[in-house]
Symmetry: C2
Subunit: 377 residues, 2 copies
Amino acid sequence: MRNVYIRGVGMTKFGPTQSRLEEMMYEAAVQAMSDAAVEDVDAVVVGAMSPESFTGESNISAFITDYLGLVPKPTIRIETASSTGAAIFDGAFFALASGFFRNILVLAGEKMTTLGTAAATRILSEVLSPQERRQGGTMPALAALVCRAYMHASGCPREALTYVAVKNHRNAVKNPYAHFQFPVDAARVETSKVIADPLRLYDCSPMSDGAAAMVMTTDKTPIRVAGIGHGTDYVSLAQRESLTSFSSTRVAAQKAFKLAEIKPSKIDIAEIHDAFTPFELIGCEDVGFFDPGTSWKEILKGETALDGPLPVNPSGGLKARGHPVGASGLAQIIEIVWQLRGHAGARQVGKPLRYGLTQSVGGMATSNIVTILEKTG
Amino acid sequence: MRNVYIRGVGMTKFGPTQSRLEEMMYEAAVQAMSDAAVEDVDAVVVGAMSPESFTGESNISAFITDYLGLVPKPTIRIETASSTGAAIFDGAFFALASGFFRNILVLAGEKMTTLGTAAATRILSEVLSPQERRQGGTMPALAALVCRAYMHASGCPREALTYVAVKNHRNAVKNPYAHFQFPVDAARVETSKVIADPLRLYDCSPMSDGAAAMVMTTDKTPIRVAGIGHGTDYVSLAQRESLTSFSSTRVAAQKAFKLAEIKPSKIDIAEIHDAFTPFELIGCEDVGFFDPGTSWKEILKGETALDGPLPVNPSGGLKARGHPVGASGLAQIIEIVWQLRGHAGARQVGKPLRYGLTQSVGGMATSNIVTILEKTG
């Protein structure tokens, strides 16, 4: 198998926009191809969770490839709910590793704000167990269940959830691509409206529009894909062995670290899927940064702050960079690329960086993906 | 890169059913895994064009992997409109060629009959150019435009379209998996109702439910994947260089034959995407079986009959085996596997077979895929 590298990246600002999905993808793709200094690619891998439902668009990979002027290049669409952006990265990784391609454009996007929040919430809830949906299980409702179980088992206080929101908003202030470029203080978080107890408004990522793109290659560049892993879990929470840990993340992380031949302690920076603030705490444990039930203590000590020993979500995370569902997984990887390259502007982590990790959650943790990048140059 | 082989296959009978999508996929997957004599696989690649629209199901790859009892194996969904079943084969091919996996379960299905024909026609038309849809361009309407252009340019008579329908129904009578297991004569075809002039009812494939599954492997088996290729084209017909040939097929075929290192004349049997009867004529030319504009003459001579020198659509094709859109591409490949193995029952082609080809059309020929299999054992 060939080594796989990242050649160029691009992204739109996340947040509500009048732009159509293909226009956002075009903007991101042009940036990525310009950054990669390529005028052509061998294939196009497109990610979107549900343009069929959000905007009534179908056959999206062919539409985008045409719109980008890349006909007759082959194209496919890959989808794994909210980890789609990471899944397209995986798909292109294997295709490149096979030696059949040299440069592949991967691009992901979602246009979520067209129909309004109620319709988008319904569409997002279709990824859940029908049995649990019939009991009122929307995505925030089930995340609240997980949060409550985690707080009960670990002793995690409300303060730790608040810290995640405050930290990620603070990071996003420095990120020109972020949906929310404003700080929030603890009082604002803790007095915001209850979405699904104990989750409040500022514990939840927003509905965003946005797109991200990347040129991946078998040519050596300074950013190598060191590890990838993907795990699944039962759709119904009732069947899970635990509510306070996502086994799909643990499986994915084990595979990714095995491939990278490193331990979690070697990771210098990470983007963790914080669609809800407790997910960042659980994610940090599941990938092996902290022992089970202890994330909240480490996080409250400032371990994951931008100037801490292990910065988590320097971009602002899904919480504050925004969460266009199909794009987030790729946006996480792009943030790590920018950080490893030293191109992250005001939010650049100061310490030397070698390994960066991303963790992406598909659905209610039914299809989770972990990626490890290494700066080799 | 590793060689890739086919280890086992399975399929449901196509046609309207009360079974749900996951039940059909389960039935096909159990057959394929039993045929492959494996109890586990390393990954699951799921194909469906639009369960979101047809039945309101989302996150389909995680649902299916759970339903099959294959948690925590990684899974993705791949989609390329009506060539989806072939695209998942491609995706798994590259993943296997990379050496990261040994056995991958690919399974594809579509549940199209739930909402009725009018709604399904609307969903299928979403793959087309919005500009052409606004002019009344449904899928049959645009296929009729292509048909008219082809007949005008080549001199193809109505009789040749009829022959395709009659031949494919005749083959399907011998196929227990076929949606339509009854013969039609020329008079019945030519007096059937006009769908979009010159296309009549029996020129069009039906809305079908169905699923197909396959275990692909890097272990040597008697059926090797010799070549694959994928090409795209402009979504709008108005931008095409030709209406009487699909350049996406030509690009795909050139790649597949180059990889297989053979000429089209070496192909012994083929499944060609006959969603509409003229597509079989055009497809046979685009993959290189016959010169442009001459398919109809060869077909009327019986060249592609089950007992002819180059049997095309021994299964009955999309026309008569049925066309559950996400599954058809994989069903085509499975028919070739059965034929190469000598397992095709009453429709088994009598002559010795070495190479078989499939051609699959995504959307209005925006994402076409050609696959070549070789019997090596």
